[in-house]
Amino acid sequence: MDDVPSIKAFELPLSVKSNEPVNDEYRLLVLAAPHDILKRCRAGQFFHLLCPQAGGETPYLRRPMSIYGFYPEKGELHFLYKVTGAGTRALASLALGDRLNVLGPLGEPFTIADDWQNLVLVARGVGLATLAPLALEANRLGRKLTAICSARHPDYLMSTDYFASLGADVITLTDAEGTSDLDNLEKVIEGLIADGRADAFYTCGSNRMLRLLQIIGERRGIPGQIALEQQMACGIGMCHCCVRPFNRGDRQVHLRVCREGPVFDMMEAIAW
């Protein structure tokens, strides 16, 4: 048989190497994963996790989680997650040696166009989980990266060391220090543009940031990509529950976050 798609996503139980808090909101889950799965992973893709029964709760549907890190050499797959409900509570209960059934890698990854030499990554909170592996890719391709990391409080700034270790310029903005408002963010970004350090934007998660980046992008002609979230059932494109609207030319189209996304053209995305 020809023209039949090849197998790209795998359902398999992985064993837990560690699952430690990063601060009092976020935890890092490290799974032992086979080399050939890790080799297929790309920044921006996600896995669909089958959370265990825990504490009398039985999460039913899988939960989507961005790949926070993938290390074929070490045989490790990392997720950075925030405990919000039954599924993530169950994830938090996983201990060394437990098995977690994962499905992936799934979705369309970030792309870095040849002429995007200076990348600007703008993220807040758990959005960093999604954008982090992009820094690795940028480093591999020898692109310059500026990471603008926003959080409520300096204690919740994650991954800044990680970004710095990959050669990125890190700019931190926090509510506590009064530096994270949109006006200031705009100033910071305009500063980068003025310095010729912004060929493309990468963002995720925040509605207000998206709107600001779209305005700046439009004004300055700078493209970008955004990773979006939506509730998912199948995670592989079958059920059409994860759609979001996008502007395509003069029409609105509905695209599946799990399949056409989670990474989309920043200018086509519609703020919610």
Partner: protein, 314 residues
């Protein structure tokens, strides 16, 4: 070697396990070899383009789920051009699920999708019929019979009628579908349900209400499969809450000739393969050489016919 093949009114399937409409698509080919399945069943399509319902379109309820996807559809043209050729790469027969707002529109679509490459048509008569106050065709025997006759006249292909649990007249509807020309019954679709977020006081689905699927639905759909097998002479394809090989066996014993697996595929995308293997193992452990020896073997002989068809007194 156990013979897993079944015959659905002349259409031979290599095994009785197939996906349920709306929980399967070409995308699954990236997870396993689709040629292992007994049949391929597509998401329901409509004639024209449709957007589907507002989000959120799914939510969890107690180890099961609700959905109100609606029927987003690119229309019949796109379907015949893109989807039918995709499945031509497989030996497994293709079953196309269709739906329409009126019986005539439905029948037109039925004839339009009767193209080479399509082995059977599953008619989703569980969708609202705007000529009957928005009630699904399959809620009443009369509307079932009317739409099935029009559909029957529209195609030479085998017609599988997909019934709804949102009725108090399952046996009557099943007989009406048979008399109207159905070659098989798919039993059943989701049951209308609701969930509310008590913190926001908003329904958990954008569409307010949606269909319950998954394990909670099983005892209801199994009862319907049994009733339909008793009430008609055409093959029944069981569907609803199947997630283990024991569930498959229960449906086959109840009288289903094959089964469809829906929500369970969302939880375990490769589950249909495990069910095929598990069924083969179970049959061979039981010393059965063919799955056909299991179908309809429920021991209900001492029971009054009246009990079977009447409503049970609660």
């Amino acid at each position: 070697m156990v013979d897993l093949s079944v015959d659905i009114s002349g259409l031979k399937l290599k095994n009785p396990i197939m996906p349920a409409s709306g929980t399967f698509s070409e995308d699954l080919a990236e997870v396993f070899d689709l040629d292992r399945l007994g049949a391929h069943v597509t998401k329901t399509i409509t004639r024209g383009w449709r957007d589907g319902n507002p989000t959120p379109r799914v939510c969890e309820v107690n180890g099961s789920m609700l959905n109100s996807i609606g029927i987003p559809s690119k229309g019949v043209g796109a379907f015949i051009e893109k989807v039918v050729p995709f499945y031509a790469h497989y030996e497994t027969p293709l079953v196309v699920s269709i739906s329409g707002n009126t019986a005539d529109e439905f029948a037109t679509l039925c004839s339009e999708v009767s193209v080479p490459g399509v082995a059977a048509i599953e008619v989703n008569i569980s969708c609202p019929n705007i000529e009957e106050d928005g009630k699904a065709f399959a809620i009443r025997p009369s509307s079932t019979h009317d739409v099935m006759r029009k559909l029957r006249a529209a195609t030479e292909l085998p017609l599988w009628a997909k019934l709804t649990p949102n009725t108090g007249e399952t046996s009557e509807v099943a007989r009406a579908a048979e008399e109207g020309g159905a070659d098989a019954l798919v039993v059943a679709n989701t049951i209308l349900s609701m969930a509310i977020d008590i913190n926001t006081r908003r329904p958990k689905l954008g569409n307010l209400m949606g269909g319950l699927s998954g394990p909670s639905l099983k005892p209801i759909a199994l009862r319907m499969a049994y009733q339909c097998a008793r009430a008609t002479g055409i093959p029944v394809i069981g569907c609803g809450g199947i997630s283990t090989v024991e569930d498959v066996i229960e449906y086959l014993i109840a009288g289903a000739s094959a089964v469809q697996v829906g929500t369970a595929t969302f939880i375990h995308p490769t589950i249909m393969l495990s069910l095929i293997d598990g069924l083969e193992d179970w049959l061979s452990n039981q010393g059965l050489s063919s799955v056909k020896d299991l179908i309809g073997t429920v021991i209900d002989g001492e029971q009054d016919e009246a009990v079977v068809f009447m409503e049970a007194a609660p």
